[in-house]
Point group: C2
Chain length 705, copies 2
């Protein structure tokens, strides 16, 4: 920020040279801070504008060797270098103070405000035209200074690192959650959870241990400053992946949706895992350093922290998502409110406010707001989205798409600029080299052994070229950088920040640029065609490998509904083509077809060769609860609760079911929402009183299959 301060002062003098020197001296402090902030923001705004314009040209010319994030980083680096080497280094001024002699103070924490009379007893050198003020100023609490010898303190940070966690990350993560609304995510849920939860923890542990080993081999000065917890923290922050670049190329080249879902899903969840994990490590560090001896207690405490904070944050987010769904459902429920659905502005405002409230509630409760926002986004997409008017759907999608775009490009620009302007970098070549090697190894440890284990129980298995691609997609991004820049008090932490920045820049620019070649080299099929993923979300243009063997069938979502309606008729012609799989599962059904049966049925049909679909075991229970309880409760999806709940719950169910749900059978068939559900679409037990028109539709539907 210091070169910018210089520029700001310069501007100030140029523009207000007509004002007297006294004015400048008096106002300088108060107005300068604001103008420096504005100038700062202006620089980033211009950089983003430049990036947008260049992306435009690149998109047109189909430049695939550099993605927008890579572009943002490179522009950031250039401008950062200019700021660094063009400006002078205007230092932040500071003095040490003591309390006034007769001060009374009764608390054991530092005061919020210091009142300082300037110039007081200071020997101030004043040039003739700028009189020295003689006033009292307020100074507010900023934080602890750990390293007093260090001349530059936290205030010189170009931005407060906390803005990443409170302003930049929430829209990015929410958008990711809101886009997760795809059946392929749930179809690959087992693999995604394994990679994200187990894999990230494993990767953090491996990187942390290896780095600790490496650090011990380095010169003593550095080795002494690193504890095992420091390197473990490094492992946690460098483990989450951010494969935006790769996914953009996947979209362009229409790569297999299952691979896409695995990479996208893993990267979304491992951000959340890494964030909570690093928090737990810090808490552990705090307790460990205080008590010295109680390692086991502290370790258990850290694990408890991790599990508790993660699951509570998840609950807060999911609760707020469901609450929004319930409100939007209730609004649409009663006849008296139905006209008001025409006010999409109110609906969108409610949506945004409730999502933001999820973040704030989690933060207030000392949980992790970003994790809450992620699960809130998933719930909003899964339930609320179905209750919104089409105008509100567009509006919310476009709003978060835009916010996500701006936030993402801002953070990558900032990574570039801060390489030069952030004052707390510590370049240690050995640590950087070790960081690159171990982070690569950590990614390998995450993917290959876990894929092997997954393949033992998974059908179809994850092929080797998919595994290589998963490994290759381990770019590091926003979350790693935000975690690294959050804490730069010690030399060890500063070396971590530098290494993390370099790893992010290198992976985004180089790996991102090579992604399309990697796809070709690994012979991963591209250009697949598919007909049920056509919304303007990241999955747009992504095609399914499995469905590529499908020919001429109806769009699978509609097909789902039709087949579900008829699923108790085992003699269907369609059923016959899917082989023994379905019959086997069908035997398990007791009058009502269970969601996982439909799922495996669809898988079997989709893969065509009868080798069997993925069973998505983890999703089974969830699917049942979701489709039989939550969906009917929170959205207008059929079947109504009166049909899904056990008999003794019927009176309760009747209260909670809308007349709309009883009578909307036709609508279910005409749904245009192409991805409202899990792979396990809501099960449709045969209605007790079936609408004649409806059953005709069903039969007609079958005729087409």
């Amino acid at each position: 920020m210091n070169p910018i301060i210089f520029f700001g002062v310069f501007l100030h003098f140029v523009i207000f040279c007509h004002a007297s020197g006294a004015d400048i001296a008096l106002d300088a402090k108060a107005t300068l801070l604001h103008r420096i902030d504005s100038l700062n923001l202006l620089i980033y705004t211009c950089l983003l504008t430049l990036t947008v314009l260049t992306i435009w040209v690149f998109k047109h010319r189909r430049v695939s060797w550099l993605h927008e994030t890579g572009l943002a980083v490179i522009y950031g680096l250039i401008v950062g270098a200019i700021i660094r080497y063009a400006g002078s280094t205007n230092q932040i001024t500071h003095i040490d103070v003591h309390p006034a002699p007769d001060t009374k103070y009764n608390l054991s924490v530092p005061p919020d405000v210091l009142r300082f009379h300037f110039p007081d007893k200071l020997q101030v050198s004043s040039s003739g035209d700028i009189p020295v003020p003689n006033k009292t100023y307020a100074y507010s609490f900023r934080g602890e200074i750990v390293n007093i010898e260090q001349n530059e303190i936290d205030l010189k940070a170009t931005f407060d690192p906390e803005i990443f966690f409170n302003i930049i990350l929430p829209p990015i993560i929410f958008h990711a959650g809101y886009c997760l609304k795809r059946k392929y995510f749930f179809r690959n849920l087992g693999a995604i959870l394994t990679f994200a939860m187990v894999g990230t923890a494993l990767s953090a542990l491996v990187i942390g241990s290896l780095m600790y080993g490496c650090v011990q081999l380095m010169p003593a000065s550095l080795a002494a400053s690193f504890t095992f917890l420091d390197t473990l923290y490094f492992g946690a922050l460098i483990s989450p992946t951010d494969p935006l670049t790769v996914l953009a190329i996947f979209s362009q080249l229409k790569v297999d949706v299952n691979l896409y879902a695995m990479i996208f899903g893993e990267s979304v969840l491992n951000d959340a895992v890494a964030l909570v994990l690093s928090g737990a490590i810090q808490n552990y560090e705090k307790r460990y350093s205080n008590d010295g001896g109680f390692e086991i207690t502290a370790f258990l405490g850290a694990i408890g922290d991790f599990i508790g904070i993660f699951s509570l944050s998840l609950l807060v987010g999911a609760f707020m998502g469901c609450l929004t769904a319930l409100i939007s459902f209730l609004i649409a429920r009663d006849k008296i409110f139905t006209h008001v659905r025409e006010w999409p502005l109110l609906e969108s405002a409610l949506f945004v406010l409730m999502s933001y409230a999820a973040f704030l509630i989690a933060e207030v409760c000392e949980l992790t707001g970003v994790v809450a926002v992620l699960f809130c986004g998933i719930c909003q997409a899964h339930y609320t989205y179905n209750n919104l008017s089409s105008d509100s759907r567009n509006r919310t999608k476009q709003l978060f798409e835009l916010l996500n775009f701006l936030a993402e490009n801002f953070i990558f620009t900032y990574i570039g600029v801060s390489m030069f302007t952030f004052p707390k970098h510590h370049f240690d070549p050995w640590f950087i080299i070790a960081g690159f090697i171990t982070s690569t190894l950590g990614r390998a440890v995450n993917i290959y052994p876990l894929s092997f284990l997954l393949n033992l129980g998974r059908k179809p298995p994850i092929p080797m070229n998919f595994q290589h691609m998963l490994f290759f997609s381990g770019l590091r991004g926003a979350m790693s950088f935000a975690l690294a820049i959050r804490n730069t008090v010690s030399e060890a932490r500063q070396a971590m920040l530098t290494t993390t920045s370099l790893i992010v820049i290198a992976t985004v620019v180089l790996q991102g640029g090579a992604a399309s070649h990697a796809l070709a080299y690994l012979r991963i099929p591209t250009g697949q065609s598919q007909n049920d993923e056509n919304e303007a979300l990241p999955y747009r243009d992504v095609r399914s490998l499995y469905q590529a063997t499908d020919s001429g069938g109806p769009p699978s979502d509609i097909g789902f509904g039709l087949r579900n309606m008829d699923s108790t008729q085992p003699s269907s012609c369609d059923r016959a083509t899917t082989g023994s799989m379905v019959v086997k599962w069908g035997n398990g059904a007791k009058g009502v077809i269970m969601p996982w049966q439909l799922n495996s049925y669809d898988e079997g049909r989709g893969s065509g060769d009868g080798s069997g679909g993925e069973k998505a075991r983890l999703a089974k229970l969830w699917g049942a609860v979701d489709s039989r309880l939550l969906k009917p409760l929170l959205t207008h999806a059929r079947p109504p609760l009166t049909e899904t709940l056990p008999a003794f719950m019927r009176p309760v169910a009747r209260v909670l079911t809308t007349t709309h749900q009883y009578t909307q059978g036709d609508n279910t068939l005409r749904r245009t929402d192409s991805d409202s559900d899990l792979c396990i679409d809501e099960p449709q037990p045969v209605p007790t009183s079936i609408d004649p028109q409806l059953s005709i539709n069903v039969r007609n539907g079958y005729g087409h299959v």
Copy 2:
């Protein structure tokens, strides 16, 4: 904020009671501040959610006696009272400090950071379980403390007042500018500018003088604390109007568009005028208080400030708006770029970034960012909007609509809450009563004399009931409050804040609630129908009084284009029906029909009775420059520059004209943008080489009239 701090501390202890006391003492300060901010935001988020839900119910039940802003204020008042009387009053702690004995310091401005070792020499009482830390803390510069005796300082403000000027007002003002894109604004430009510029200054002067008189009659303690500049500042901040409530009712009841345009246009511009005016008064105060004698110089300086800052801010905003238009135009211009128009996300991002850059550039140059953003919004609507893809148009409109909605409701909620929680209120009943009376008088002085003067040269004149309605629409809102809360250092300023808050609350709730009755009482016609203002912007549903006499004609925008094309044929059947007016104006034309002729022609035709339209004299020159130079340069509007520029400029014009513009004649007729232009739609001199198909269309168009 203090009750919230208490609540925050409480939560902290409840949730983290398992952590040791030492942890709490060490972390409390750093994490507490963040969590208090979150809690604060959460309260407002919940309040906004509640407001949204209530609006929903109100809209459905057609409740017209309370508008959403009134609702937000009332909810704010209730919650403010609860926070005030339920929480304890946890004080911000402060101590006085002196520099350390051996400190060297070379600058004449206070240092940026104080380093304070705690507990240092303080006598700290520590309860047993919370050890006293022994660390050094950083304190950063906040600002001057004017009144040292005062126990509570600025830090207790619930929010930093500057957020209003940097976060809340910009989207509101930009949205207002972006919505100004209506021909009726320019048709009433003279009246609007008179009310906004002259009227606001007059009102500020009258209120300032009267208040000064009133203050002199009050008890000596208060009288002494007010200078004439203080009351003048009060006049400036209470003059701008914010008739959101009234306009919402106008929209609902379909009130005359000219009245709507006058009220809306005036309120948008007088916000900008008042902001710059109050800044100029403050600058004057500063110089006056320093030099004592040079009143004339300072007064001239203040006037210079006002004119300079206003016009420079205007230029910055307009320049950025036009630059955006030029970029979007160039992108659409060359064939190689045309495909890329399909990326509305990039287009929208560019739009947002450039508009934000206008704000930042003005702030960096010590101009007024809010004013820049207003004129940027007007230019974006007038030029850029026409170059955007329809997806981007929707997206930008919806985005700013949502931001405006949230920002507006936030500020009114905040006004309510801060009545109770803001620590710097000063209730002085005499000042409050005087404030109510003088602000009403100020509004009257603004409207009635100026309307009288305007009516001398205006046709049709502003009828008395319209004048009464203009007077009645003088609600005070966001800008007044923001200006009042910006500076609360003295008792005088605090009394102003209290009075302003009360005036805002009273006018928004009471006057806003009575607006529909006022309309009925004043016999202002409602329920007018009109067919050229149907976009989802504030003008939606507003109908023209003039056009109500129209029957069966084509939509006037299309009519415009058609008539313009044919305006050199004086024998048109349509022309005959409009009487001598047109013939008179037509005589003035020398081969090319001028925009103001078309305007008056339309007015004459619209008003039917031949009493003559408003001449919009102020808009004449501007209209000519706009339609002949700027529109063809910045958008795809016809005619191309080659036809509008003088002969010697032709070579330049040819370079700047796109082939698209030469060949798009047909598109002009098919335009769906219902309000892309001034009342003076781009003049269409008869093309030298007229498209045969086009002229057929023109004739067909006439056949319908």
